[in-house]
């Protein structure tokens, strides 16, 4: 892509300066809308049908059609779907005729958003749609996820997501960062916050002492420390500069965006820390100004406590007011939904919000996205 004298060149040079100085405010690419499917235990719709509806739901309120989309990037997982190249049929949901610019990530839609954000920086297109979709009910997550692990040392043992989470929870507890009561408190707050969220599966008033009488599912984790199994999809619309302001009165501009990974095998890592989160947050410029809210992809209670600490979030910052991944956990869309809820905060008049997504066993890879409204 030539960096020429077109209308985008000024924006590009501004961004280049931002990159050089480490400043994160480039103010040019924004989330202008998003939608999510109903988040439920088992949907009767195919993944493609979920996407058909949710893309339409994201576009229609903005007065856009599929013909307006310059680029799409879809996040999904073949192993969850149980079909090789399942993303090919998901293309049917974007109406790829005449042929469209399209990409796919075998990751949460938050990473699809990252790719679209990069693509929009080329300056030659204005509108992108990203999605995350997963039907977790299709198979048994305890059998599917081990297949994605190290094929020599982990997969043959069938090490499942609950086991990874439990080993990390014990490491976090042993390091004195959390205890089972603090973890139950996260669950209680999440369920209470989720009461007003129509897309939350797990919600209501709960009592810490009562929760702590429950049996362990994977010691030290009890049922309330775990996310529900969720079918669902989310779609998000991005637009650049003036186009973003035409489409929404107060777009949520992406002013910082970074993701970092650690090595795969949790045995090689300090599980009581999340250095990749800390580095991604620094690179995204989290420290540059206070955020009012944070949406963290913490599918297990101890993860929220660990992530808050890695991000340096004080008690004054509202974390996961949506109920978070403990309320509904549509694998492959959970992270994108976090960014959506953070964008909602800005749409509604908020100044600055943090969204986080994660991938891999024991928070292996972490993504941090900062969203801001116009001053």
């Amino acid at each position: 892509m030539a960096a020429g004298d077109g209308p985008g060149s000024e924006r590009r040079s501004e961004r280049a300066r931002s990159a050089e100085t480490g400043a994160t405010r480039n103010g040019d690419i924004a989330v202008v809308g998003w939608a999510q499917s109903p988040m439920i235990r088992r949907t009767e719709l195919s993944e493609t049908q979920l996407l058909l509806r949710v893309i339409t739901d994201a576009l229609e309120p903005l007065g856009l059609t599929r013909a307006d989309i310059d680029f799409t990037c879809l996040g999904s997982c073949d192993y969850i779907t149980g079909q090789a190249f399942s993303f090919v049929s998901n293309l049917d949901a974007i109406g790829a005729w005449p042929p469209k610019r399209d990409s796919h990530v075998e990751m949460d839609g938050a990473w699809a958003l990252y790719e679209a954000w990069l693509r929009l920086q080329e300056g030659d297109i204005e509108i992108a749609v990203v999605t995350g979709s997963g039907r977790s009910s299709t198979g048994d997550p305890a059998l599917i996820y081990p297949m994605e692990m190290d094929p020599f040392y982990l997969a043959p043992l069938g090490v499942d997501p609950l086991t990874f989470a439990a080993l990390q929870a014990r490491a976090v507890i042993d390091a004195g960062i959390a205890d089972e009561r603090a973890m139950a408190e996260v669950a209680v707050r999440s369920r209470r916050d989720a009461i007003d969220n129509p897309n939350a599966q797990v919600k209501g008033d709960a009592d810490v002492d009562t929760l702590l009488t429950g049996d362990y599912v994977r010691e030290p984790l009890r049922r309330h420390d775990l996310p529900p199994i969720t079918d669902g999809a989310a779609a998000m619309v991005l637009a650049t500069g003036d186009r973003a302001r035409q489409l929404r009165e107060r777009p949520a501009f992406i002013t910082g965006f970074d993701h970092r990974t650690e090595c795969h095998n949790p045995g090689y890592r300090d599980l009581a820390d999340s250095p990749s989160t800390r580095i991604a947050a620094a690179a995204a410029g989290l420290a540059g100004a206070p955020v009012e809210v944070a949406e963290l992809q913490a599918a297990f209670t101890h993860e929220e406590i660990l992530l808050r600490r890695a991000l340096g979030l004080g008690d004054d910052i509202a974390v996961n007011r949506s109920g978070g991944a403990l309320a509904s956990n549509p694998i492959m869309a959970t992270g994108l939904a976090r960014i959506g809820y953070a964008a909602d905060h800005v749409f509604g008049g908020g100044k600055r919000a943090l969204a986080h997504s994660t991938s891999g066993p024991c928070l292996q890879q972490n993504l941090v996205c900062i969203l801001e409204g116009d001053a």
């Binding site: 005729w97 059998l143 090490v159 045995g267």
Partner: protein
């Protein structure tokens, strides 16, 4: 109500192990656990590179560790899955083997969770017959390694390959249009759907128009003709992968239905030897008896129920050089 179907997929992987992991797996058959030096660290399990720095590690730097070690973190698995190394409740733990800098994630057969604490000592219990796999052993409490049953001894040759088979059962909704199509095929009808926006007709569809991204319902169903022309084909010489039932070369053809733009892909042919399959061949639908059981899964081209394939109609071939391009 939407119908769900279950299908099991087996993923048969055959992986080469390389010099470092191969040596580790070979060591397991000898009841030895190897780590690898990286600077002043000993990494267990060993890799060909340092996971923190990416520095390449040398096979010469493999060193024996353990076989006893100390539990650094653990969790209890009260309900083992079919993929787990034990069929009764057990612990997964991070075990720091003596002499190692990093813990190894593995199973501990400790009988009950109350018997476990961080800091506990464990030793391997080896399988009698070891294949050179990470599950050639599990840990047991204590300081004394054991062998389960008769010790068949180390592998005769270095272990270089590893098989990994996972089988997953998936449960997926059947699009209502598929059920209507299958039901119609019992009455020797080929059902399609016409998009109300663009007018295109789809056969074997999933209930939406991929061009206009709109959903199609029963009101969009249309009947399709039973005759057509082969536009393209392939002759498949079966490779005997797991699940392959064909043994002789067979054809899959693409059929353009008369008077429509609809192409049925990957269709079987009947009473048409592979050497006679050609572009332009005229064919007619062949049906199973309405009370016959038919394959629920269908083929790569989709499930067409009682439409079991295409049979030569006897009409003269169509001579149209453009036909071959019609695969969609």
């Amino acid at each position: 109500m939407t119908r769900f179907v279950e299908s099991s997929i087996t993923f048969p992987y055959k992986r080469s192990l390389g010099p470092v992991i191969g040596a580790f797996m070979t060591g397991l058959t000898e009841q030895r656990i190897l780590g690898i030096r990286s600077g002043d660290q000993v990494l267990v399990p060993p890799l060909e590179w340092d996971p923190q720095t990416g520095a390449e590690l040398a096979v010469d730097d493999l060193v024996e560790v353990g076989p006893t070690g100390t539990i650094e973190s653990w969790t209890w698995v009260p309900d083992p899955s079919e993929q787990h190394p034990l069929d009764h409740p057990f612990a997964f733990a991070l075990v720091r083997l003596d002499g190692a800098s990093t813990p190894l994630l593995h199973a501990v057969d400790s009988g009950s969770p109350t018997a476990l604490s961080v800091g506990d000592r464990v030793a391997p219990r080896w399988r009698g017959t070891r294949e050179g796999r990470i599950n050639d052993f599990v840990f047991i409490p204590g300081e004394t390694p054991e062998v389960e049953g008769t010790d068949a001894g180390p592998a005769a040759d270095p272990v270089t390959m590893m098989d990994y088979n996972a089988s997953i059962t998936y449960r997926n909704p059947v699009p209502p249009v598929s059920d209507r199509l299958r039901e119609a095929s019992r009455d020797q009808r080929i059902l399609g759907q016409r998009c109300p926006v663009c007018g295109r007709v789809y056969a074997g569809g999933r209930g939406y128009c991929p061009i206009d991204a709109v959903e199609l319902g029963e009101e969009h169903d249309v009947d399709l003709p039973h005759s057509g022309t082969i536009t393209n084909y392939t002759i498949i010489t079966p490779v005997q992968y797991p699940g392959q039932t064909e043994t002789e070369p067979f054809a899959r053809v693409f059929v353009l239905l008369d008077g429509t733009d609809v192409v049925l892909p990957y269709q079987p042919v009947i009473e048409l030897p592979v050497e006679d399959v050609k572009v332009g061949k005229r064919v007619a639908a062949a049906w199973a008896a309405s009370n016959d059981d038919v394959d629920e899964g269908g083929t790569m081209g989709g499930a067409y129920g009682h439409l079991i394939g295409w049979i030569p109609s006897g009409e003269p071939d169509v001579d149209d050089p453009e036909l071959v391009n019609r695969i969609f």
